[in-house]
């Protein structure tokens, strides 16, 4: 193969950072969809199996679009499945939050809520992207995500303000997942994309925090005390770039998740399915 076949519409200097951005967002959607795919048939009520399958489907769809576009931006002829099935854990760029195990329903729902609040603000901001492909994708994904947030936020409030047991479980879930929310505050290394208007909003993290603070107050749940003082303004845990999932740093849970996702495909290189 010769060098990459660059999109004519793309400024060459932006190519590497746009590719990274697309993989980060695609990995975020895919890894969470994979977690939700493990929940189906295990939800607390059949109506909830339906809801979770639905969210998972939307996320798979978003990942496919992002990967397909990543393939075009990369210019090496890779399709969506290449990015999902043929990269290793160190190459995955999702925030660590979404790779965390399903736990009980409180963990599943709090993880979803933290994610959805981020994703909604992300897609809202991306509707104004100077990149037409991303802006068009954002217009669709924003609507899907608004419904996801309505679902997960509704549950966080019901669990927090439900019974003593549900309150306790919801608070435990928040306390255990809080440290993984630091990834959602900001994405490192995107100055160029920001300056060029491809990723127009750098305040998704602030908006995320506002949504979370308001919902947790509704839910009579507490935000954990800040455990870090370094940057601390956007999230309680602070933002530690050196351990950011966006940079390819992951918890021990991503490896087994990808193993399950990729095993069959990797056992049959070159096969069609």
């Amino acid at each position: 193969m010769t060098g990459p076949d660059l999109l004519p519409s793309l400024q060459p200097s932006l190519q590497p950072s746009l590719l990274t951005h697309l993989l980060r967002q695609g990995d975020r959607a895919l890894v969470l969809a994979q977690r939700l795919g493990q929940v189906i048939t295990h939800a607390p009520e059949l109506e909830e199996d339906m809801a979770i399958a639905n969210i998972s489907l939307d996320l798979i769809g978003q990942a496919r679009h992002l990967y397909t576009y990543a393939g075009e931006v990369e210019g090496l002829g890779h399709d969506e499945n290449h990015f999902a099935y043929w990269r290793s854990a160190e190459e995955f760029l999702n925030p660590q939050l979404v790779e965390q195990p399903n736990g009980d329903f409180a963990v599943t729902i709090v993880r979803q809520f933290f994610h959805d609040a981020y994703a909604l603000h992300y897609w809202e901001s991306m509707e104004a992207s100077s990149d037409a492909t991303l802006a068009a994708l954002a217009a669709r994904a924003r609507k899907e995500t608004a419904f996801h947030l309505r679902h997960s936020q509704g549950w966080v409030v019901r669990l927090g303000d439900g019974t003593d047991e549900s309150h306790r479980r919801a608070q435990l879930a928040i306390d255990s997942l809080w440290r993984f929310t630091s990834d959602l505050a900001s994405i490192p290394d995107e100055t160029e994309l920001h300056d060029s208007g491809v990723v127009p909003d750098s305040e998704v993290g602030e908006r995320w925090r506002d949504t979370v603070v308001a919902a947790l107050a509704d839910a009579t749940l507490d935000i954990p005390a800040s455990t870090s003082t370094s940057t601390g303004t956007s999230t309680g845990a602070g933002t530690d770039m050196a351990s950011s999932g966006w940079q390819g740093h992951h918890s021990s849970h991503l490896g087994p998740l990808l193993e399950e996702l990729q095993a069959l495909t990797r056992a049959h290189p070159g096969a069609e399915w």
Binding site: E45, E47, M50, A51, R150, H151
Partner: protein, 94 residues
Amino acid sequence: MTGSWPMWEVFVRARRGVDHVHFGSVHAADGESALQAARDLFTRRQEGVSIWVVRSSDVVASDPDDEAELFEPAADKDYRFPTHYELPAEVDHM
């Protein structure tokens, strides 16, 4: 506490310009959840643009045993239908 959520009847408007039609039921603890569940259950293939949910226990239904007295009296009033009236051919499409 029964451990099972109440039942809601679901009505879906297929598209603008037509009535909501009864589609079935879902279980949910509250109206908002019932709406979301109905959306996920009954509109996966673009079957609707609007949904109503009504608590099943709030539906007042006629008794099937009363079917005859409620509905049969309408049977001998064929003058309510246009076909009852024979008109001259010139105005037959009235």
